[in-house]
Amino acid sequence: MLVQILINGLILAGSYALVAVGLTLIFGVMRMVNFAEGQSVMVGAFIAFMVAPYTGYLISIGVAMIFNAGLGIIIERTAFRPFRGAELNGLIASMGLSIILINLAEIIWGTVPLSFDTPFNDVSVTIGSVGVSVQRLIVIGASVLLLGALWWLVEYSRLGRQFRAVSEDPEIAAAMGIDVNKISRASVVIGSSLAAAAGALSGPVNLLSPQLGQTEMLNAFAAIILGGFGNVNGTILGALFIGMVQSVASVYISNSYSMSIAFGLLLVTLIFFPRGLVPERLEENV
């Protein structure tokens, strides 16, 4: 039982973390919330579903990520660049884009949930006393791998330094010769392809439907708030926490309340820590 709860929690945490770090990266760079991120998850899942029969499951994850990198460029052009400095409008624009993407997906793939079968779903290994499907282990492993890659990118690469510079002060960064538009685009591209990975990974564990992005994104928001906006490491911790709590709650309380529990926890946290568990730097000018 304990192993089962742990594995389920890690699977949830993995996909929440992939979505949440993307959102947090975009927020850090542009100070905007990308409401179309959930739809990137959905599109990624469906692309992998379409491609997997021809290329095999593992390659289809990569294809979905590349496809969504292109989608990220479109999202940045339509919903972010025109609204620099007008955050509320940008937010609503990304919601408008979400509506478009959901309905496009419903036209293409229909509204009936599809099941995404991979060869790894049927193979299982025994850990302790319970059998766990290899698919589930792949989800956990790939999430850790991708999050590790992102962490390396942000901490050590040239692009990562530019990300951090822009999120600290876009004007100074621009004065230092960093192309802020390019960095903004890169953040949406990375965020969108991480979301695709989340979709392609968790798709075979759940069912595919054009609405799947919504819940995924709401949970990712909860993780972000717990971890502090714009903070990649805090966000991963937040996702781990939310995933574990939901996994425990679905066993001991009820599955139908799992979202309520995540958001109840969130509200309680906000009462005591109005700026999240890992607060951002204060940026208030008098």
Partner: protein, 363 residues
């Protein structure tokens, strides 16, 4: 807006030109109101129904105007308040409580929820507030779904008693109530000190605080007022539709209301009213395109286009038109003293553009 024109005209001394254009304006206003009032005699029940739903949505949008537009507090959970009002009315009327009492209870419960959410939420800023209110919306939707004993959950609540009005009466009541609220909010924003206080909290909290404004109390008040208005819309919805499911009050609906508010121009009651009507009617008007998905696709594209080409929303267009009209009518006639007084009373009069810009940048 017309109030100010009138006072400006009076201060400058009534010239012939002013009197003539006042008459034109009055005629235009009377014609529009007459057309709106006569509409149910010309339209079929289907369109009356949609317009009534549009009026009810416009009340939710006005509640968001109070919170987001005037006070600068973002709410992603407004559908939660609508649901609270609607379900309180629905459940009580199924139990046989008099509709009027049930309606009062619905608004009261929404108000109490607004207070309870406001207590923690008024301390949150920007996106933390946004996600906090989103959490409230999710909690409400899931509670409505899971409290099967009371709300009958996903099976839906049937047998709600209505106020006993016909479609036409509903139309006129909806029109009158929503327009009265538009006028009230517009008056509060432009002409009262309360409007100045609300906007001072939105633009610069620290200056507001140092001017002796109890920022926390103002925010809490805005939450309560907004929740009560949204709950009132919920009561009207329940009584009009007489069938409720939790699906009507999810966070997707909160986003829909917020979308209408921004398309209308966040701080413009009149713009919000128009946006609510148009965005409710648009998916129906697009029925010619057949498929639901295609209609919603066009809907999403319309929202994007409005934001691209009219960044200040419908309200921005209204403001520009009325400013242009005032100028063409002989803006020089308005004494500078009066103009200055108006400018200090409401910062958005003279410089709509920078004001709007700031309104979109959340603190």
């Amino acid at each position: 807006m017309s109030d100010r024109k009138r006072s400006g005209g009076m201060l400058a001394g009534v010239s012939g030109g002013v009197a003539v254009s006042m008459a034109t304006a009055a005629t235009v206003a009377v014609v529009i109101v007459a057309l709106l009032a006569a509409a149910p005699l010309m339209l079929d029940d289907y369109w009356i129904n949609i317009l009534v739903l549009g009026f009810i949505s416009s009340i939710v949008v006005l509640s968001l105007n109070v919170l987001t537009g005037y006070t600068g507090l973002l709410s992603f959970g407004q559908a939660g308040f609508v649901g609270a009002g609607a379900y309180t009315y629905g459940v009580l009327s199924v139990w046989g409580v008099h509709p009027l009492l049930a309606a009062i209870a619905g608004v009261a419960l929404a108000l109490v929820l607004g207070l309870l959410l406001g207590l923690p939420a008024a301390r949150l800023k920007g996106h933390y507030l946004a996600i906090g209110t989103l959490g409230f919306g999710v909690l409400m939707a899931q509670s409505l779904n899971n409290m099967v004993d009371v709300t009958r959950g996903p099976m839906g609540l049937l047998g709600i008693r209505s106020f006993g009005w016909s479609h036409q009466v509903w139309y006129w009541a909806g029109l009158a109530i929503s327009l009265a609220l538009v006028a009230l909010l517009h008056w509060i924003e432009k002409r009262t000190f309360l409007g100045v206080i609300l906007k001072s909290v939105k633009y610069d909290e620290i200056s507001a605080m140092s001017s002796g404004i109890a920022v926390f109390a103002v925010k809490l008040g805005a939450f309560c007022a907004s929740a009560a208005l949204a709950g009132f819309a919920g009561v009207l919805f329940a009584s009009y539709v007489r069938f409720l499911t939790p699906d009507l009050f999810t966070s997707a609906d909160s986003f829909r209301y917020l979308m209408m508010t921004v398309v209308g121009g966040a701080a413009s009651a009149g713009g919000g009213w128009i946006a609510a009507l148009v965005l409710t009617a648009l998916p129906e008007a697009l029925r010619g395109f057949g498929e639901t998905n295609l209609r919603l696709l066009i809907y999403g594209a319309t929202v994007l286009c409005v934001l691209w080409f009219l960044p200040q929303g419908v309200g921005g267009v209204l403001e520009t038109c009325s400013a242009r009209w005032r100028r063409s009518r002989g803006g020089a006639a308005v004494s500078t003293a009066a103009a200055n007084a108006v400018a200090t009373a409401s910062s958005s009069t003279k410089h709509p553009a920078p004001d709007q810009q700031r309104s979109e940048t959340l603190s």
